[in-house]
Symmetry: C2
Subunit: 467 residues, 2 copies
């Protein structure tokens, strides 16, 4: 029991649910909540103290102690399992230990219960039967040639990407693409990069870790405000043009043209083609890379189509960056693991990936519709955005008083058993309050119940401000 509690608390500290400076519950209270003896809690706190994770302070209680700062860190990169380069859950402000979350609506997580286990296992069997010794040896740092070949065709077909197999670098997800690109930019003397605001907090933290200051450029209903980007003189910009995180807007044709003009004048576009596979109401816009392969470093992953835990993605840089990025990949890990690459190549070749994405798209659309209907019923005041694609939507709330704090709101909703992200977690500059709500991982009934609780909580919390 003590072990379990130590592990649970340690995990909560590691992934940021228990933040530095947070006070742990009093031992008697936590013991009561958990139905264990107080000695168990005392012993657990003592062991965490021995590990240097917490510190008992007289009159204050047991407090989570700061980690040592990260290497090269401009800001501290959170050591969380969730916050990341892809638009992911940042650490939430309060521990989940006492009130368990019943419905986790963190954005960015697909329906993992639908992972295509049977197809994966069939593909793996075929791969293991056919893999040669050289497939399993020290491979090409760009990745397995068969996978790069399959991906070139697949991305051309579904996203209009213009690349051949030799342009592609297989990476450990979009996070690694950003790490490699940041290293290259730093080596060229860059110290800044434009990012969308609101935008992915995980990406921002990661770029800062590698020494690139993420400079916010506002996003409006047409996407990134390119005119403001152009005025900054920044050397590069990270965007999610197909489905902006977290607003869900699509970059308009006018803005796309303006962005390409900016790049022609010397800027580098980093295109995180996040969620592009899940467009529900019409065909997705093509990738920016399709318009200008020489100006765009394109990246995507299987995190949303298969599972985040795959850590399998691709980076298609402009050719002038290719050699530097391959060298950086090689110096990071020699290359990505062979077997999952071969399995993915097999799944693409057999049409299994397409089949899975189609199935998921239909399932996610149903879930989105259920959530949307329920939110309109339970939270009619809210403005709902970003519904056309992806795995999440954004609601913003009228705030005539300027008093609605969405972090506080998210915490109250969590206490009602539902985990959502406050929009301000993903903002660098202030703006209207909002909630980012993922819908892919839960069936319609649970989404309806979650919407009801969100509605009740928001009503209660914002009281007259929303009337």
């Amino acid at each position: 029991m003590t072990n379990w509690l130590v592990n649970a608390l340690r995990a909560a500290i590691a992934d940021g649910r228990l933040r530095v400076g947070a006070t742990l519950p009093a031992t008697r209270i936590l013991a009561d909540d958990l139905g264990v003896s107080r000695g168990v809690v005392v012993e657990a706190y003592r062991r965490l103290g021995d590990e240097g994770l917490v510190n008992a302070r007289t009159g204050v209680g047991t407090v989570v102690t700061p980690l040592r700062s990260a290497p090269h860190a401009v800001k501290q990169a959170p050591v969380g399992g969730r916050s990341a380069a892809e638009p992911l859950a940042p650490p939430l402000p309060l521990p989940q230990l006492v009130v368990p979350v019943e419905v986790d609506l963190s954005p960015g997580v697909p329906d993992l219960s639908a992972f295509p286990r049977a197809a994966w296992l069939r593909a793996e069997r075929a791969v293991l039967n056919n893999a040669t010794a050289s497939d399993l040896g020290y491979g090409d740092p760009r990745g397995n040639a068969r996978l790069r070949q399959e991906l070139a065709g697949w991305l051309a077909r579904i996203r209009g990407i213009r690349a051949n197999a030799d342009d592609i670098i297989i990476v450990a997800g979009v996070a690694q693409s950003l790490a490699l690109l940041a290293q290259r930019q730093r080596a060229q003397g860059a110290t800044t990069i434009a990012v969308e605001d609101p935008g992915s907090r995980g990406a921002r933290d990661e770029l800062a870790h590698w020494g690139l200051e993420p400079v916010p450029v506002p996003v409006d209903e047409h996407g990134l405000r390119v005119a403001e980007l152009a005025r900054t003189g920044l050397p590069a910009a990270l965007l999610t043009p197909a489905h902006q995180f977290p607003t869900g807007v699509v970059l308009t044709p006018q803005r796309r043209r303006a962005l390409l003009d900016w790049a022609t004048a010397g800027g580098l576009i980093v295109e995180d083609d996040y969620d592009a596979e899940y467009r529900y109401d019409r065909a997705p816009v093509p990738a920016l890379q399709a318009s200008a392969p020489a100006m765009v470093a394109y990246t995507g992953s299987t995190s949303k189509t298969l599972a985040p835990g795959m850590r399998l993605g691709w980076l298609i840089p402009p050719r002038r960056l290719h050699a530097d990025l391959v060298a950086a990949k090689h110096a990071s890990d020699l290359g990505s693991p062979a077997i999952p690459q071969l399995v993915l190549a097999h799944l693409i070749a057999a049409g299994e990936l397409d089949r899975h994405v189609r199935l998921m798209r239909a399932r996610h659309r149903t879930r989105r519709d259920a959530l949307l209907t329920a939110l309109r019923q339970h939270l009619p005041q809210a403005r709902v955005q970003g519904v056309a694609a992806g795995l999440h939507l954004l609601i913003t709330l009228p705030d005539r008083s300027g008093k609605v704090d969405d972090t506080d709101l998210a915490e109250r909703i969590r206490q009602a058993g539902v985990l959502v992200h406050p929009l301000s977690w993903h903002r660098q500059r202030s703006g209207p309050p909002g909630l980012v709500i993922g819908y892919a991982a839960h069936p319609p009934d649970r989404l309806r119940e979650a919407a009801r609780r969100i509605g009740v909580t928001v009503e209660a919390a914002t009281q007259l401000e929303l009337s």
Copy 2:
């Protein structure tokens, strides 16, 4: 045909077989060798020229052009699939295109035909049946908890490692451990690291990529000369104490004690526990980490027990470095892929990894004995070292004249169809000529034939020098 040739040449340039500055064969000669029309070769050279990989210079021929320098590079890290942090094949000096290699005796590659496919597939089925959604989601950047638990027990049992599951960071092989450690050392202001000489060229190049100058410290028959290390004032040292690469010597107890004294005075020991699983004639020495967990960053991988293409390894740092290294891992790729981690945990728990290592050890011993006997017959002048463990041995040659060039010798042996490494590839300072010969990947008959060819070639090349 042109495509094939372009790809082959591009690959040879990418992995370093065709080095920067190397002259490609004259078009007519290569066309004759390959049995293709000269136009095919001319067109291939033209396309490589368009890609900026080669440059036609009047009077010189077509020359491989330098890559752009790598980010943070002190020296250029080779963009090769083979050279790496683990003691691996560095780029060989001449192209393999014209004379195909019949027997590749590059060190560091296990018998990949023996990869335990059936056990792997059984484990994968069990893993896919039992994996939860959170197993497949954004996980702990330290790696899957079950794998860390299994590894803690396994490493304690087979290597005496003192660590619990929370001390372990799952990484993409030893290469990533070195990248993370180098980043941390740089962030602390270090610019140098001691390395063994001779030692792994791949590790050296990788450390240089990350901005740490690898400073050579000589290795003799007792292992690293710790007294010389202590005189340098260097902040850290990378060693392969259980089976030094490439000499195969084991660090003696006296040297181990001296090394720990050095670390007690403030030095960091980076222990690459390379090849420790394959000790043939007596029990392996325990890992250094077992003596002094607070002074040693211990790292190992499945590259030699399963396959290099797994890219799956572990890093067990001193606790004071742990948080920084987890942050660096998180900022590099969020964490390693989930499924292979779960499969490895299953293989360890089921005893399958032990079974496989036992099987491999017996097979490798037979192969080593076959090569050893054949080398004594065909190359009686050579001194053979490093036979007690690992996947390769080292032969050094008497060179009273100082005229034997082992790079030239390796090239002649390659022309006789056998690929071995010249010892000087792994040296920073000059020393007696030698050849590093891997024996794990081939059955005894092929090893005997390879030894015969090596003997004949060495005799012919060194002529009277060896008499």
